[in-house]
């Protein structure tokens, strides 16, 4: 099979790969199976993705870049963080495989060791997400603080999305408001019993 050049064909392959990877354990698929699922020969598949890690990395970058564009656009269009959060939630609930892929493979979820290319990833997040968001609503500190805050709310967004997709919590305006309140205003915005330790 000849791989079409152009953005759409590669995006299509990556999008389908995300669907497959999100539903399977990486130990339990072979390049032959992946290629067959994508309608490609194994040799074409291996020419594009010589190792499992290169496929995962391409898929991760594909989803991250898409997220950055959506998050910045939603922030520009939204009236506040809650509107941005809801717009992103609406979008990603419709793409559960993207969320499940992110849960397993995205660097926003820490594993025991920092990935070798973590510094590169962090620079990309700062340039393409933290800095544009800081233009819209600046943080009091430096870009490192902006990165930590972004890391926190993006992780929460993905996990909250998964809770809704799994049916663990209902997708109601009240629950969404609770999600935003926890991120924006923290634990002490909830009712505290008077006289308890500060």
């Amino acid at each position: 099979m000849k791989i079409e050049s152009g953005k759409n064909s590669l995006e299509n392959i990556l999008s389908k790969s995300v669907d497959i990877l999100s539903a399977s354990d990486p130990q339990h698929y072979s390049s032959l199976e992946m290629a067959a699922s994508l309608g490609m020969s194994e040799s074409d598949f291996l020419a594009l993705f010589p190792r499992k890690e290169s496929l995962i990395q391409e898929c991760r970058t594909f989803l991250e870049k898409d997220f950055f564009v959506r998050a910045v656009a939603s922030s520009q269009n939204g009236i506040n963080f809650e509107a941005t959060f809801n717009a992103l939630l609406d979008h990603y609930i419709a793409y559960p495989t993207f969320i499940r892929f992110a849960l397993s493979y995205d660097y926003v979820f820490p594993r025991r060791e920092l990935p070798a290319d973590y510094a590169e990833y962090k620079t990309m997040v700062i340039e393409e997400l933290v800095k544009p968001l800081d233009q819209i609503r600046p943080v009091k500190g430096d870009l490192e603080m902006g990165y930590q805050l972004t890391d926190h709310w993006v992780r929460d967004l993905i996990l909250d999305c998964e809770l809704i997709i799994d049916g663990v919590v209902p997708d109601t305006p009240a629950m969404r408001h609770l999600m935003v309140k926890a991120i924006e205003d923290g634990l002490f915005s909830f009712n505290k019993i008077p006289g308890t330790p500060e």
Binding site: F109, R111, R112, P138, H152, R155, D185, S189
Partner: protein, 191 residues
């Protein structure tokens, strides 16, 4: 649970804490490390997934018991966050195991029964650990506690893997973020 069950679960936590996407542990790895056969393990835990489930429950319950016990010490919020973080950092293998296999954390769970159990357990411990709060429903206890818990686990993981330094400033940042939210760090009026 007898002593051998416990040893198998501890070894599962140890190996599972080192899991990576491209490399996971097998029953054979556990058996080899404990000088057992795979059948010895399977006679006690019928499958790898049941073993992981039991190990997750053991690690999670021990974390929750510690946090519950902290409520008896009348700590300030900042002191409480430090003690919680200390626990997760001190129990490195348990923390990374829960991160790798715990529900509502870094991996999707597709089993309805698992998710219900996760919801019920998180609600139960949320009510105990957030005993200074008067939340309006089980749903609020579930959500607020699961969001708080995961923030600590991720922060501890980021410290342990060297992404963030374990400094008083970073700990204060975490306490403020969990206690008062992201708005505490934003310039200008709230939108």
């Amino acid at each position: 649970m007898d002593e051998l069950d416990r040893r198998i679960l501890i070894e599962t936590i140890r190996l599972g804490s080192q899991d990576r996407n491209e490399k996971t542990f097998s029953l054979n790895d556990i058996a080899k490390n404990l000088s057992l056969s795979e059948n010895d393990i399977l006679s006690r835990f019928p499958s790898r997934s049941s073993l992981i489930e039991k190990a997750t429950e053991m690690a999670f319950t021990s974390e929750m018991r510690y946090l519950d016990d902290l409520n008896n010490r009348s700590l300030s919020f900042e002191a409480w966050t430090n003690r919680v973080l200390d626990y997760f950092i001190f129990h490195k293998e348990e923390t990374f195991f829960v991160l790798n296999f715990g529900k509502g954390l870094a991996r999707a769970s597709l089993s309805g029964a698992d998710l219900q159990q996760y919801h019920d357990s998180m609600t139960y411990w949320g009510k105990r650990i957030l005993c200074y709060f008067a939340l309006s429903s089980d749903e609020e206890y579930f959500f607020v506690w699961s969001a708080t818990f995961r923030s600590f686990v991720y922060a501890a993981a980021n410290i342990m893997r060297g992404e963030y330094l374990d400094t008083p400033e970073n700990r204060k940042f975490l306490a403020t973020l969990i206690g008062h939210g992201m708005n505490s760090f934003m310039k200008g009026p709230r939108l």
